[in-house]
Amino acid sequence: MKGAWVALERAAAVRDAARGWRSAGLVDAETERRIADEFPDPRLRPSWAFRALTFLLVTVVVLALFLALMLAGPGLPAGLGVLCLVVGGACVAATEAQQESPRLARRGGAGATALWAGVFLSGGAAFLAHRPVGLNESGVVTVFLAASAVAWGAACLRWGSPVWAIFSTTSSFFLLARVPAGRVLWVVLGAGFALAAARYLDDPSWAPLHRASAAAVQLAGLAALYMGVNTWSLETQWIEKLRPGPVSTPASQTLLAASAVATAVVTAGVLGRGIRARRTLLLDAGIVLSVLSLVTLRHYVPIVPLWAVLVAAGATFLLVALGLNRWLSRAAGKQRGGFTAEPLFVDEAKARLLEVVPVAATLSPSTPAPEAPDRSFRPGGGSFGGGGASERF
């Protein structure tokens, strides 16, 4: 990232923080305005709806132009690959131009052109590997993954975005899965990426967007480490199947037992580190890994029926959340060990409104079928037991 862009990102981080303080009622509008004056950021930043709209429309423009050029092209063997590289290069230039302009940098268009730059450059390399180079399908996939890792990595370094960091790291791990010791590399490099990224999460010399990218790399590394040691992944040879050619011999019982222990250790380690370091991202990752580990356990030890597992797990989640909330809220200053259940600088009313979307998407009743002569009880409910409000429940 250019030095000037980094300075603007730092100012934007302070202004964003001030906006949060204002929404929490800790500072007034006048103080927020004075903070904005102290940390000027001339870049225009529309609301997220405008940014999403711009992203969408720029995407349509880029794809339509690409298709027009493709159909108008002379149809040379290397034509598609070259065209992808040309359009990818044009997208890079467009992103650079937008980043330089205070009116365009944060409008949403730069994100769209950066995304398509990565896609077209990776795709172009893969098409060229196919024709005229003549690599087989497996070789083309390998070239695509390598190009993707490099392109997104470069995009992350230049324009700074955790999304590009995730794309680059994920491509790297899928590339590593294609070599003989893929699983070992996932475990070793997954742990290595997670540990290395952890060192830069608070590094003041890094730009805010690069620190966010480091957090994304840490998450991707942990995901690779967990997939590397997970018992189900080992037994089904999930990583090995990503490699071309025949799958290697199944894992021994000893290895499976060791992986069961490793699954638990990694989960507990991530959760423990999240609590000790007070990092909510690690805590969230730990919670997700705990759920995955419990699902794995249920897969191998089906001691109780599924409904009992679901109800018990749900009740546990509810009770843990209620207990934790009570425990934190009753402490002096409503905080214990640096944790609080209070919302900090978040517009709680807006957050409550946003929850309507996932609830309506998962718990809404099913629509009744137009004609259902057999209306005898067929339990199972609506989507996810959503009130069971359908003709079937």
């Binding site: 302070v14 923080a17 103080t31 903070i35 102290e38 940390f39 529309p46 609301s47 969408l56 429309l57 349509v60 298709l67 027009a68 159909l71 003041p204 805010p208 990092r279 909510t280 969230d284 919670i287 597992v309 679901l310 109800v311 749900g314 546990t316 509810l318 959340a321 209620l322 934790l324 909330n325 934190l328 809220s329 640096g338 944790f339 209070e342 919302p343 009313a349 409550r352 409104l353 929850e355 309507v356 979307v357 609830v359 309506a360 998962t362 718990l363 809404s364 009743p365 629509t367 005898s376 009880f377 339990p379 199972g380 409910g381 037991g385 959503g386 009130g387 069971g388 409000a389 429940f393």
Partner: protein, 322 residues
Amino acid sequence: MQPEVVEAIGALKDKGILGDPPASTLLRVAKRELVSVRFELRALLYAGVLLVTTGVGLFVKENHDRIGPLAISAGIGLAAALCIGYAVRRAAPFTWGRAPAPGVAFDYVLLLGVLLFAADLAYVEAQFRLLGPGWPYHLLLVSALYAAAAYRWDSAVVLGLALTSFAAWRGVSVNVLHGSLGPGRLAETRANAVACGALFALVGVLLSRGGKKAHFEDVYLHAGLLLLFGGLLSGVYARGLWGVWLLLLLAVAVAVAWAAFRGGRSLIFAEGVIAAYLGLLRALFELFRPLHSGPAFFLVVAASAAGVLGLVVAVHRRMRVR
């Protein structure tokens, strides 16, 4: 930690822009000495409700022959009563304004209670056939109960369920996961979607103007516009009188975008623009049908998107986002 924010707080305090408090609290948060787990608690509560309701559905499916309808309905009813009892005990007094949330768990315990209650009602109706051939009316009843609970306990989440249940009664699915308007006859479902959408949007605006839970307006409007535009677009992309549907869609989308522009509602403006553009794409396909396989058609599509983009940029310059 946010190093630039930590540094800024010190500088702002030195310049007298930030007092203390709140500077020391802000500094603790910026240094990650104080961390909120509010989001994690909410995620756990939501996952808990999802798992329990799914588990209960599965339990009934696997055991209703063995345990019997009376015991099952009594069991679910008791669980629902416990949750709703908690809500009754903890709730703030009723107000037409925004009621303070009694705690992070309140919304979710209430949600679990009303979901279990609705499940129980549906189970009883399916077992004892109380409504006879009018059995879909239980969805209307559920919707009304959800709406009453939403207004009494000031829950936007439960109001969302009330609206989706009402739409389900009319055979329309608001659930985007379903990928279609509903399983019924398309023309009928489309008409129902348009009618429900218009009704939701109208009720939302009227209640908001009347000062009755004005903060629920967003839930009404977004659910309403989703159905309204979904219904109209399904007409635009159908065979037959697509031109009429397109004119209708454009009229509604322009009206919505104009109202959103005047009210500074950027998300609703975006919904109007996207709906209008999707409709216009059908017109482009029809107008340039002979060019479909050539590059000129895609140049037209690119130019149209660029044109809309220019319009959006121009509108953004003049719009005062709320």
